[in-house]
């Protein structure tokens, strides 16, 4: 007897992986962008299944809301939308490389016995459940205590990216 969460998990994984496959197989680049948004939505569902509600909200706002829209804008600013997604000369090499890596990763994942490191005793279980119930509080706390240096560094990276993007696309006036 399968549990309902397992059915939702398999369904979500199937939708995510098939729309990710359509991103690289479809000819029309606009449809590829829409399938990319579907993949991001599948990842949101996987995050919710993992009890990471904050990340699901962030993923929904940033990836589905912002990055997909920016990619679609870039597609509409350029020509050749209908034939815009052809294969390169490395098609055979690429598929073989992907299949090889996929087989290697799946073999090495299934070869390891994950139960040896994922079994939690009651004390650990209590702490994990407590941390996930107050996840927003602890994420905010980590961000300004333990990880304050990466936080400031990533804000500088965002600032540099914004300035770089503006200076790359602005009209050159002599």
């Amino acid at each position: 007897m399968m549990q309902i969460a397992d059915i939702i998990f398999y369904l979500t994984g199937l939708i995510t992986l098939s729309s990710a496959l359509m991103v690289i197989l479809t000819k029309d680049i606009f449809r590829a962008a829409l399938f990319l948004a579907a993949t991001f939505l599948g990842v949101v569902a996987l995050f919710i299944l993992l009890f990471a509600e904050f990340l699901a909200a962030v993923q929904l706002i940033i990836y589905v809301g912002a990055i997909s829209v920016v990619i679609i804008f870039a597609i509409m600013f350029t020509k050749n939308v209908e034939i815009g997604n052809p294969f390169s000369n490395f098609r055979i090499t690429g598929f073989l490389l992907g299949l090889f890596m996929c087989g290697l990763l799946i073999i090495s994942i299934t070869a390891f016995d994950w139960d040896t490191i994922t079994t939690l005793d009651t004390k650990e279980m209590e702490i994990v459940v407590y941390a996930y119930q107050n996840s927003i509080y602890y994420i905010g706390k980590i961000l300004v205590t333990n990880l304050v240096v990466p936080f400031i560094a990533s804000s500088f990276i965002l600032l540099a990216a914004v300035i770089g993007a503006i200076s790359l696309v602005k009209e050159r006036t002599e």
């Binding site: 397992d6 998990f9 994984g13 995510t16 992986l17 990710a20 991103v23 690289i24 590829a32 990319l36 993949t39 990842v43 996987l46 995050f47 990471a52 962030v58 993923q59 940033i62 990836y63 990055i67 920016v70 990619i71 870039a74 600013f77 350029t78 050749n80 815009g84 997604n85 294969f87 390169s88 090499t93 598929f95 992907g98 299949l99 890596m101 996929c102 990763l105 799946i106 994942i109 299934t110 994950w114 650990e124 702490i127 994990v128 407590y130 941390a131 996930y132 107050n134 602890y138 980590i142 961000l143 333990n146 990466p150 990533s154 990276i157 965002l158 993007a165 503006i166 790359l168 696309v169």
Partner: protein, 107 residues
């Protein structure tokens, strides 16, 4: 719904992105494949933080995998903004978004 299942989904998604980076000739499609790879890494990090118990009994150590994903999302946003700005710049120069035309640096 085990750690193994999430890791296998993440591995397949990563390989789809890797294949897309190699076989595509459109710069925007290559950027979309890079986004797929970053997303698969996020799934793996969050799944590990959910299933593997913390070393110290501190609640803030439990959520370190989630913090990884937060920083990866930040860098992905910066990366896609810069990448698409470069695509627009190349398009203004060459009227094309295919990698065979973007050979300015070849000399």
């Amino acid at each position: 719904m085990t750690l193994e299942g999430f890791l296998i989904i993440s591995a397949i998604l990563f390989c789809i992105g890797l294949t897309g980076v190699v076989i595509k000739s459109n710069i925007i499609a290559i950027l979309m494949s890079v986004e797929l790879m970053l997303n698969s890494v996020n799934i793996a990090a969050v799944a590990a933080s959910r299933y593997v118990p913390p070393i110290t009994l501190d609640p803030s150590q439990v959520l370190m995998g989630n913090m990884f994903a937060v920083f990866v999302i930040t860098i992905a946003a910066a990366e896609v903004a810069l990448g698409l700005a470069i695509v627009m710049s190349v398009y203004k120069d060459k009227q094309s978004i295919f990698i065979k035309d973007a050979s300015h640096l070849k000399g």
